[in-house]
C-alpha cells in the first residue's frame, strides 16, 4: 500500500467539504424548537400523573414529528384516557423526502430485555375486578401483606367513599371502613391514604376552593368506624405526605417541616429539628420536597433522617448525578449527561453504584416499597434512516427494579404504537402496588386534513398542503386490573 496522501490534503478536503455542504433544509431554529417540543411531549406523556394512573401515548415514528397536547389530562381514568397527538406537514416533509428511499427495516433492531412481572415474580401478580359489586370503582392504594391489597372504592371519579381490603388468595374483598366527608364538607376529597402498623390514616381537603384547610382521619387496621383526628389551617394544611404511628398522625407541609397531632385529638405540634425536612415514609424524612419540578427535581437529596432515633445519614452524592432520591437504603437518580438517559442506582453511602440498562427516570415518583425503584422503559432501541426513534413495541411501559438482586420486572402493556397506561398505588408512603388494565387497547385514528388547521407552536411558519391529524384513544378493558404487589415478591435482603 502506498501512502500517497498528505495530512495537508486531508485538512484541505475537510475544509472543502464544509464549504461545499449542501444547504440545510428549513430553518434551523424552527427545527430545534420542533425537536424540543417532541422531547417535551415524550416527557409530559410519561409524567401525566392522573391520580396514580398514567397514560403513555404512543411515540415512535408515526407521531414522532407531531406535537402533543393532553386532551384534558384531568379527566383521564383507566377506561377513558384520551389524548391527541397531531402529526404535522411542516418543513420536515421536504427534509425527509430523500431519506424515505431507505427502508427502515434494513437491520433487525435489538429488543429490550425486560421480562414481564408475571414471569419474574409470578406470586406477586394477581387480577382484581375494576369495580365493586355496587359499581364503585376501585383504586389500589398499597399492599397490606403478601395477600392483602388496600383499595379505595370511589362513588365517582376520585370521590373516595370507602376502604376495602382485597384478599388475593381468596379473591374476595371486605369493607374496612366508610370514608365520610366531614360536616359541611362540600367539595371535600380524600387525598392520600397511609397504612401504618396499627392504623390506616388519610387526609382530605377541599381542593377547588382557596381555603387553606385539611383534615386527618384514622381507622384501626382491623376495620371499624373512621374517626376524624383533627383539622388544620394555614401552611400546616398544605399536606405533602402523611404517616401514622401508634398515637399520632404525622405529616410534612409543602414548605418543609414535619408535624404531629395526637390520635386522641389536640393541637398540631412541630417535631423538633425538622425544619426543611419532608416526610418520606414514617419514620424516614428527607431534605427534598415531594415531586418537585424543574430545578427542584434535579436537586440531589443529601440526607436521610430517622425521626424516631434522630439518626441522620449523609447521602454520598457522586459527581455528574442529578435528581438523586434515597430511601433508608437505596438511592435512584440519573446522570446529568443525558446522552442515553442513563440511570444511577446506589446505596445511601455511595456503594453498589450501578446503571441498569434500558431504565430511565423522568419526573415523578421513583421510590417504591421495600427499596425497589420505579423506572420508565424508554423502549427506544435506535433510530431509523429518517432519524426517527425506533421503539421496541414489545418492551414493557415501566419496570420495577430490585437494587439488591438487579432483577427487573416489566409493568404494563405497551401497544404496538408504543403507548399504554399504568397506575401506581396512591399511598402516601412509597407504594407496593402497580397496576394496569390488560384489556385496554390504544387506538389511533388518522385522517388527512388541511395542514393550516394543525396546531403548531407559536412562531412556526404555517404549513401548506395536506397534513395528517391523528387521535389516540383508549378502548376496551374496564373489567379487571392486573396488580403487582411487591410485598409478595420473595425476600432478597
Amino acid at each position: 500500500m502506498t501512502y500517497d496522501r498528505s495530512e495537508a490534503e486531508l485538512a484541505r478536503t475537510l475544509t472543502g467539504a464544509a464549504d461545499a455542504a449542501p444547504p440545510p433544509v428549513g430553518d434551523l431554529l424552527a427545527a430545534v424548537n420542533r425537536r424540543r417540543g417532541r422531547r417535551t411531549r415524550r416527557r409530559v406523556q410519561s409524567a401525566l400523573a392522573v391520580a396514580g394512573v398514567i397514560a403513555v401515548i404512543g411515540g415512535g415514528t408515526a407521531v414522532a414529528r407531531g406535537f402533543f397536547s393532553s386532551g384534558g389530562g384531568e379527566g383521564q381514568t383507566l377506561s377513558a384516557a384520551t389524548a391527541t397527538a397531531t402529526a404535522t406537514a411542516t418543513a420536515t416533509a421536504t427534509a425527509t423526502a430523500t431519506a424515505s428511499a431507505g427502508p427502515t427495516d434494513a437491520a433487525e433492531p435489538r429488543r429490550v430485555a425486560i421480562r414481564p412481572a408475571a414471569e419474574v415474580w409470578p406470586a406477586a401478580v394477581t387480577k382484581i375486578p375494576v369495580k365493586a359489586a355496587d359499581g364503585w370503582r376501585y383504586r389500589p392504594v398499597t399492599g397490606l401483606s403478601a395477600t392483602e391489597l388496600l383499595l379505595v372504592a370511589e362513588s365517582s371519579f376520585e370521590k373516595a367513599g370507602r376502604l376495602e381490603v382485597y384478599d388475593t388468595a381468596a379473591g374476595t374483598s371486605t369493607v374496612l371502613a366508610d370514608m365520610p366527608a366531614p360536616e359541611g364538607g362540600k367539595g371535600y376529597y380524600v387525598q392520600d391514604v397511609e397504612a401504618g402498623s396499627e392504623y390506616i390514616a388519610w387526609w382530605g381537603e377541599t381542593p377547588n376552593n382557596s381555603d387553606k384547610w385539611a383534615d386527618f382521619w384514622v381507622v384501626p387496621r382491623a376495620g371499624g368506624t373512621a374517626k376524624q383526628v383533627g383539622q388544620v389551617t394555614g401552611d400546616l394544611s398544605e399536606v405533602e405526605r402523611i404517616g401514622v404511628t401508634a398515637d399520632s398522625v404525622v405529616w410534612s407541609a409543602a414548605g418543609g417541616g414535619i408535624y404531629r397531632m395526637p390520635l386522641a385529638g389536640g393541637s398540631p405540634e412541630k417535631i423538633a429539628g425538622t425544619d426543611g425536612l419532608h416526610l418520606m415514609s414514617w419514620p424516614w424524612a428527607v431534605d427534598v420536597a415531594k415531586g418537585g419540578e424543574g430545578e427542584d427535581e434535579q436537586k440531589n437529596q443529601t440526607k436521610v433522617v430517622n425521626l424516631e432515633t434522630g439518626q441522620a445519614a449523609e447521602v454520598n452524592v457522586p459527581a455528574g448525578v442529578q435528581g438523586l432520591r434515597c430511601g433508608p437504603v437505596w438511592c435512584f437518580g440519573k446522570e446529568k449527561d443525558q446522552e442515553n438517559d442513563a440511570s444511577v442506582v446506589q446505596r445511601v453511602d455511595g456503594s453498589d453504584r450501578k446503571s441498569p440498562p434500558d431504565l430511565s427516570l423522568w419526573g415523578g415518583e421513583r421510590s417504591l416499597a421495600r427499596g425497589f425503584g420505579l423506572f420508565h422503559v424508554s423502549g427506544v432501541v435506535g433510530r431509523d434512516a429518517r432519524g426517527e426513534e425506533i421503539e421496541d413495541g414489545q418492551a414493557p411501559l415501566i419496570a420495577v427494579y430490585d437494587p439488591v438482586t438487579g432483577t427487573t420486572a416489566g409493568i404494563g402493556r405497551r401497544d404496538p404504537s408504543g403507548g399504554g397506561s399504568y397506575g401506581t398505588g396512591t399511598s402516601s408512603s412509597p407504594t407496593s402496588v402497580l397496576y394496569w388494565d390488560e384489556g385496554q387497547r390504544q387506538v389511533e385514528e388518522c385522517r388527512k386534513v388541511d395542514a393550516t388547521s394543525i396546531p403548531r407552536p407559536p412562531g412556526e411558519p404555517a404549513p401548506t398542503g395536506k397534513g395528517t391529524s391523528c387521535t389516540t384513544t383508549m378502548e376496551g378493558g374496564g373489567k379487571e386490573l392486573t396488580v403487582v404487589n411487591l410485598l409478595a415478591v420473595p425476600s432478597t435482603e
Binding site: 495530512e7 478536503t13 440545510p24 406523556q45
Partner: protein, 179 residues
C-alpha cells in the same frame, strides 16, 4: 370535570418555555458554521442537521449555565462530536450506509480530494471524529482526548488507524507511523 381532587391535576411536564433572545441570536449567528462542522463530522446533510439540532436543543436547555462559561460554541461542538460517536448514532449510520446511496451534491463542488472524502465514509465514527477534531478543528491530541472523554493514547491510536486506512503519510513521528 369542574370538581376534581387536586391530586388529579398534577403533572410534571408542561409546554417548554420559549428560548431566550440570546440563544436565538446565537443560533442565527453560528448555526451555519455549526451545521458545516456537523457535515464534516457526519458526512451527509441529514445527519449534519440532526447533530446540529440535537446539540443546539441541549444548549438551549443549558443556556443559563453555559453562558456563564462564555463558550456556548465549544459546548455545542463538543456535544456534536460526542453524539457522533455515540451508540445510537452509530446504529443509524450503519443503516444509512447500507440503504441510502450517498448523494453526489458535494462532489462537483468540493475543493479537495473527492476520493478521500468518500473514503472517510468507511471510517468508524470515533476515528472520523478524531480526524475532524485534529485536522478540521485544529485541536491537539490532548484537547481531543478531553473532549471525547478518552485517553490521549486512544486518540493517537484511533488517528493512526484512520490515517493508515486512508493512505495518508504522517510526518509527525509521535503518531507512530512514518510514510
Amino acid at each position: 370535570m369542574a370538581k376534581i381532587a387536586k391530586r388529579g391535576m398534577q403533572q410534571n411536564g408542561g409546554p417548554p418555555r420559549p428560548w431566550g433572545v440570546e440563544f436565538t441570536d446565537f443560533v442565527a449567528a453560528r448555526g451555519d458554521a455549526l451545521y458545516r462542522y456537523g457535515y464534516v463530522l457526519a458526512g451527509n446533510a441529514e445527519d449534519a442537521a440532526d447533530l446540529t439540532q440535537e446539540a443546539l436543543m441541549r444548549l438551549g436547555d443549558a443556556w443559563s449555565r453555559i453562558r456563564k462559561k462564555d463558550d456556548p460554541e465549544g459546548y455545542v461542538r463538543t456535544t456534536m462530536a460526542r453524539l457522533h460517536v455515540s451508540r445510537w448514532r452509530r446504529l443509524r449510520r450503519e443503516r444509512l450506509v447500507a440503504t441510502v446511496p450517498e448523494v453526489t451534491y458535494t462532489d462537483d463542488r468540493l475543493d479537495g480530494d473527492v476520493g478521500l472524502w468518500k473514503e472517510l465514509e468507511g471510517l468508524p465514527p470515533k476515528q472520523r471524529a478524531v480526524l475532524v477534531l485534529r485536522y478540521y478543528e485544529d485541536l491537539s491530541d490532548q484537547e481531543i482526548a478531553e473532549l471525547l472523554g478518552v485517553s490521549r493514547g486512544t486518540v493517537r491510536s484511533q488517528a493512526a488507524r484512520a490515517l493508515d486506512k486512508l493512505r495518508i503519510r504522517v510526518t509527525d513521528l509521535e503518531t507512530g507511523r512514518v510514510g
